[in-house]
Symmetry: C2
Subunit: 334 residues, 2 copies
């Protein structure tokens, strides 16, 4: 029997859990994130999902050697353990918005999961994303690498001088929260006019208004809708300025962009982003390269896997790309 | 005869050069920066100033073991060597401003000085500033440390996870160029409304107008001048937001602030900065500490010294603080 690793990707809307061995991905299950109950709700759901993977795959848990958790952030360290303090998960952080069905102020993710799993590694999803891109994707070989996910929110992860940067609470680089203006939309985090507030998928839908989804705004753009064009061009301009700000701090070489907003609209967005980015301070911007995430819909899984994958599996996985022949996802009811 | 190290601090207006041995600072000379002649003008001036230190101190150059250069940035790497591409030094970068008496597009600082000096270390002045603060100043013991100089311009240097961050061209973290708005003053770098354009000493003087110097704007504030109050409060607000943006990228623990604008007006500025900083996303801002640079007018020298000081001098220097009993500066004509 081969060693098994488990990977879990926690988002505000869904959690996916997978098991892998050195031959590839064995099973992948999907469930909506449980945002009700007490602060232990999400850690309990993660434990259940990993257990369910073992049951459905008819495997024994004694072969589990490590668990990688990639999760929406940010974190706060309390009593030495990482707690989730994400305004999109913890209703107690944003009671004035009144959209989350809980009053959690933090989720004790590390404390609860470390009781249950050994060799547990927990990272912000964009930080694990940059691990994935550097290990298996478009960032291979770059010592100075920024990964950006442009999705419902905007997250970033980075290697600087060949090292993954973490910061005091593991929140570096939380680039979605750089300020880009004085007045304008308010972010879920409370900041006015930060990158996420003006350029995320959520921001695009809100700026367009009328209850349109982000995808519908892009459809309207392709039909020649002037308002959609304005909203999307503004978002792309802000996104580029946000990247320029982050690059001025990190002096990066390669920026890999992923996330559903970008990947679904790459041919439209990439030229807009590059044009505005290279307008910023040339001495800092001119040597920077752009690439598109190559890991597609499995980025979240590969991200969590990258946190704990044994060194001696990597070379083979780079060739076989097991995420391209992953088994069908099993959708569980909540 | 004791080993000697040389330190040079290159700014857009002046260059200081010093010699030290393990007992302390032996000599310090000061000269206005030569911004005329060809691209080799500043490297030549640096060589001359170090030579002049040896002549005036009546010391032999064969005891020189290393040279630390702290300089205004940013850098660009050409043929593997660092070149200065500073818009405040290279007139060829900003011909439209027409204020610099040269047409240099870059200064071959490393190429020229490495012919002349062995064990040469060149760093951006705020990067060497954070080295100085972590070795001898208010940043001792911090693994996640940001140093900010709030002066004519705004520069930053940082340790993340215990490592000095450099980036691909040694420009990390060039935090003065994070964007803070869409419209407003234009920075020397070409960015509109970046941190340096809206909060630096230069920005404060320009916003007040009428030919007032930065110091005169602060004097006007202390006399109750309403316009000065507005200008300075806006600059402090922008400065705090810039720090919040940089902190969101680096997840730092301690921010040490130095530079003439801050040090001359600390009691006024620090409360304004802290109030605005802690308003930003609490999960990222709440654990951050602030301190004032303790190295005073010698920061630039200590910064350059910190780049090359032998490990076994440090403990003694932390106790004896030789910069507090440095010899009188010798002012040389240009």
């Amino acid at each position: 029997m081969l060693d098994i690793i488990a990977s879990v990707d926690i988002g505000a809307t869904k959690i996916t859990a997978s098991l892998c061995n050195r031959d590839g991905i064995i099973i992948r299950i999907y469930q909506r994130t449980r945002l009700t109950g007490d602060e232990g709700s999400i850690p309990d759901q993660v434990k259940e999902l990993v257990d369910t993977c073992f049951v459905k795959a008819r495997l024994e848990k004694d072969k589990l050697i490590a668990v990688g958790i990639s999760t929406a952030g940010p974190f706060q360290r309390m009593d030495g353990k990482l707690h989730l303090v994400s305004p999109n998960i913890c209703g107690g952080m944003t009671p004035e918005r009144g959209v989350l069905p809980n009053s959690w102020r933090s989720v004790p993710i590390e404390k609860e999961l470390s009781k249950h799993f050994k060799n547990l590694v927990i990272q912000n999803d964009a930080v694990s994303g940059v691990m994935a891109e550097r290990t298996f994707g478009a960032g291979k070989g770059y010592e100075n690498l920024l990964y950006v996910t442009w999705s419902t929110g905007i997250g970033t992860g980075a290697f600087v001088d060949g090292k993954l940067i973490r910061g005091k609470n593991g929140n570096a680089p939380h680039g979605g929260h750089v300020f880009l203006g004085d007045t304008g939309p308010v972010c879920g985090c409370g900041n006015t006019c930060d990158l996420e507030a003006v350029a995320s998928g959520t921001a695009i839908a809100l700026q367009y208004g009328g209850g349109a989804t982000t995808a519908e705004v892009f459809e309207a753009y392709s039909r020649g809708d002037a308002k959609a064009k304005k909203v999307i061009q503004e978002a792309a301009t802000y996104f580029a300025r946000g990247l320029a700000s982050i690059n001025s701090v990190l002096d990066t070489k390669m920026i890999v962009i992923g996330g559903s907003v970008f990947l679904n609209n790459r041919d439209l967005l990439l030229p807009l982003v590059k044009e505005e980015f290279y307008r910023s301070f040339p001495a800092l911007s001119r040597d920077v390269l752009f690439a598109t995430s190559e890991l597609g819909e499995y980025l979240g899984d590969i991200a969590a896997i990258s946190l704990v994958i044994p060194e001696d599996w990597i070379k083979e996985w780079r060739t076989t790309k097991p995420w391209e022949r992953a088994p069908d996802t099993i959708y569980l009811d909540g």
